[in-house]
Symmetry: C2
Subunit: 330 residues, 2 copies
Amino acid sequence: MKKPTLDTLAAQVGVSRQTISNVLNKPEKVSPQTRQRVLAAIEAAGYRPSNAARALRTQRTHTLAMRLSNAGDGINGAVMDGFLHALVTAAGLRGYRITLFTAADDSAELDIIREFRDSKAIDGVILTDTHAGDQRPNAIHDLRLPVVAFGRPWDREGEHDWVDVDGAAGVAQATRRLLDDGHTPVGFIGWPDDTGVGADRYAGWARATGYSADQQRRYSTRQLDSPVAGGEAMAKLLDEGVTAVVCASDSLAIGAFGRLRDKGVAGHVVGFDDTPVARMIGLSSLRQPVHEVAKHVVETLLGRISDPEGEPRHILLPPTLQARTVASTS
Amino acid sequence: MKKPTLDTLAAQVGVSRQTISNVLNKPEKVSPQTRQRVLAAIEAAGYRPSNAARALRTQRTHTLAMRLSNAGDGINGAVMDGFLHALVTAAGLRGYRITLFTAADDSAELDIIREFRDSKAIDGVILTDTHAGDQRPNAIHDLRLPVVAFGRPWDREGEHDWVDVDGAAGVAQATRRLLDDGHTPVGFIGWPDDTGVGADRYAGWARATGYSADQQRRYSTRQLDSPVAGGEAMAKLLDEGVTAVVCASDSLAIGAFGRLRDKGVAGHVVGFDDTPVARMIGLSSLRQPVHEVAKHVVETLLGRISDPEGEPRHILLPPTLQARTVASTS
């Protein structure tokens, strides 16, 4: 069969070429009845309008945009790479593609998103690396673009959609596990409070231990993220008699674990993110459910595209403890 | 100033709305002179046609598509994740976006690429994970889509563009380094020959050592990729008196290194890919120049988009040895 064209379609339906073009490009100029007849004929004939023509017609591109965050040190970046794989898969199952771009900072990210909006290149935006004072959700809302964040707004409840992992619940679970196994005191190696994630994970430890303010101060440390910092933190906690710790990241945990091993101290370390490095050295770690997060991100964003005015959705998913015995230095 | 519309533009240039629409959508129906006048007016007025309208006009989407390969075990996947970050950055600098999709196999990948082509959604394709008997480059060429591969066609020179890393040269360099340091014999732990990459890396070792066929057989092993397999391979090579090895991957190297350490044997192990795990445990490793690869992939593909009939380009880049002394078990 010859590929149908606007002309053959027009002849078949008994309307002008212009009417068919109008149905595709300016549907408001065509009566609903004619529109239905033309669309039915198009479908029956297998006429396949190009993506670009379809985008003009439906104002949908079936494309979602996400800034690719920095690769980092390859330890903590592993979670975002896992999330990206899960996201592309989840979006693909719904007929959506993920378009990636890089940006130096939030402001450059917003510039690119504005450009996408102006050129009608995307249907929605996925944000990651949310932080206190984050201007992006409101700015994107003002652009009238649907947006969902992987990560909470840390300074308020937020009027936009977000999906996040309940770090506090995970740390509390790991802490209780160490306490139940007879470790005491159980320490915490985390990040400064000025990162929302850091404060959240610390809170999970404080809640699970029930330690006094003085004990909290003695049995925890807060610093930037690196194996070296984790090792130094473990040295300080060892002086307080702490041999079992929960860490805010695998980077910190790897350093803490190395310090225990070097000192020949029996103990136990739990990391966060269940990275390949943690799996390789047999370190217990809290795993973020990236596949579930990705699925909820896609469903929430597609829901928002269909219903721009609906109530905001906030979804918090618990991490799971991957307990490994090899990493115990005892 | 009011946002220019088709009507204000038409009035200004003194042509009909339809003519302006034709300039954007069916430029062949408009005389070159009129077309220039309309385009100049559009530009002067700051009229910004949507991405979709621009795509119809220029037949360019400024979008390149790539299948996201499986995440793997998080060790070997690290290189592809590093390449993806570099690719998005390199494409962004040229005003191009990367659209990602997943596919179960090559055939499903081709189905999706065909769909992209039919809907005019992309300007070109980036292939990864090339292998002997790979049908994809020719199939995509038949779709008249520009394509470039990160990876050689292993069974022929190839009539399509590709960029690859010279694994043989890297392994030869590492092997010579171990020989120069006084290790002898220097062994090799690799993959079966039925993977082109495996045969290539083996060839680099054979070339650098100059061993006889019998020595090659005794001082090398070939098996599937995992730390466990690397440990077993090292055990076999130890029986042949080999304590220094170059491995086809960090997975194999990690296992080999663990075996040397467990046996308390002084030796040296070099891996391939310089993964986070290798860096963490201080293992020497060959690093693939993913940023250079990404830059060449983007430049080659954009060159092919501009010049579909030009000579095929084949670019081979050497890896660099990241020598670390900590990983020596001596």
